[in-house]
Symmetry: C2
Subunit: 301 residues, 2 copies
Amino acid sequence: MSILVVGTVAFDSIETPSGSAERVLGGSATYFSFAASLFAPVRVVGVIGEDFPQEHLDLFSRRGIDIQGLKKEKGETFHWRGRYHEDLNVRDTIELHLNVLSSFVPRLPESYRETDYVFLGNIDPAMQLEVVDQLKHFRLLACDTMDHWINGSPKELRKVLARVEILMINDSEARLLSGEHNIVRAARAILKMGPKTVLIKRGEYGVLQFSDSAIFAVPAYPLEEVFDPTGAGDSFAGGFVGQLARTREPGQGGLRRAIVYGSVVASFAVEDFGPQRLSSLTAAEIEERYRRFVELTNFHS
Amino acid sequence: MSILVVGTVAFDSIETPSGSAERVLGGSATYFSFAASLFAPVRVVGVIGEDFPQEHLDLFSRRGIDIQGLKKEKGETFHWRGRYHEDLNVRDTIELHLNVLSSFVPRLPESYRETDYVFLGNIDPAMQLEVVDQLKHFRLLACDTMDHWINGSPKELRKVLARVEILMINDSEARLLSGEHNIVRAARAILKMGPKTVLIKRGEYGVLQFSDSAIFAVPAYPLEEVFDPTGAGDSFAGGFVGQLARTREPGQGGLRRAIVYGSVVASFAVEDFGPQRLSSLTAAEIEERYRRFVELTNFHS
């Protein structure tokens, strides 16, 4: 089962308490597709500038990722510069240059219009809608968003939420979107906006999954060193959607195991700067850490 | 198997986003013993002032708690006034009157000196040591502490840590005690100070358990309304030690299930102001919520 992702492909300049990295490969579509490609074939829709090097494109190809939908436009690639606090859940945006992203209109190649699993990565909700409108068939539609769109494009975002089955969102953004401080009430309010499932990402504290009938909670994998949290959420999404596409396992059980696979992949993603760790990650490493998640959380043996 | 607790018995004046309560029954020994008494017989060592009402003592008796070791002294009972932020993990101390606690020297009744499960609640480490020195026999020694003692009585605290098997501590206090920001490294550093097991309490994010050989993580029970987080940590400790004393189940499995029982009791404690909810709590309610914890966390069906 193949997977389609629309999102950003970017240069990230990152400062964390563990070090810094200048203009490394980044963006929501990048992290998502690197993660998901470990589970199932992935197609990317996005835009890059003329300055985007061939070696980065080769990294996608080496993962077997279909980049037919990655359009090269005149101008520079989207560039984000950010700094993380000692509390890695907090970061400041220092610079943000949309560049070629500012005028991007996603166009799906004909072969992309029937894709079973679709992830609308963190990007302008208007662009997310463009993609949905071009789809002829899909089985599952999931999306991510952020405070910038919650504040700046609330109407378009609501249209997206009315159409997706799964929303993935940070805890602080869930509070902002719902106007509720308590996270259970925030999730319940968001469920009323459309999604059947809301996944609340809580960084080092793990993930909460809410649906009408159940709540599932899983902690994050405890790491002695987090080098760079950038892309953790998108890597989580990639592992999650990837596992769903790989197994097509339905129901709560399938969703829960996919959430753990997402957490597994995210735990690797933060072990190095940029998507480096994901580039070298193997299926065997994923399975080994999945078993560690079972050990980490099991008490009803 | 009986349980001994030393800690504070207090009046708490509490303000939370959900409301406020004036001079309600509080203190670490109170919450701990109310919680633990749902699992096994409990003995309390502590001090109260002349202003401590009989109706509060009756609440202890109604739970079958042995208050022979609760000394009444001339003066007023320890009084704490605090205010919680909207983020309930953050609170300010507005007033703190030690009163009779300032000159308290714990003296164990002869019948208390052989107790299998001993919990040194959050109180001056010098007082915790006094209690340990008076014990002739115990099976398990666990303790709690807080930033005030980490900063103010580091030497005495180190002596306590060298003698206890289990330390329960907040995440921010674990960072303070160890000088490590990363919580895994903080826990590893604390394990070197003496305890074989460190339980890191993370409020609404649950609990992490560290030993040399394993890490266990359990989320907190998601609640739509937290009225008053006061005593959550002590209620957790009471449920945890209570379950260990009730079952005498050894090894990782027993510890893990006890951590979940502690989390169950803590989740009830915060549903009302003061120890009110614990006063009415039943064994059946505890078992029911334990089953909900299994449902909440299970993904390896």
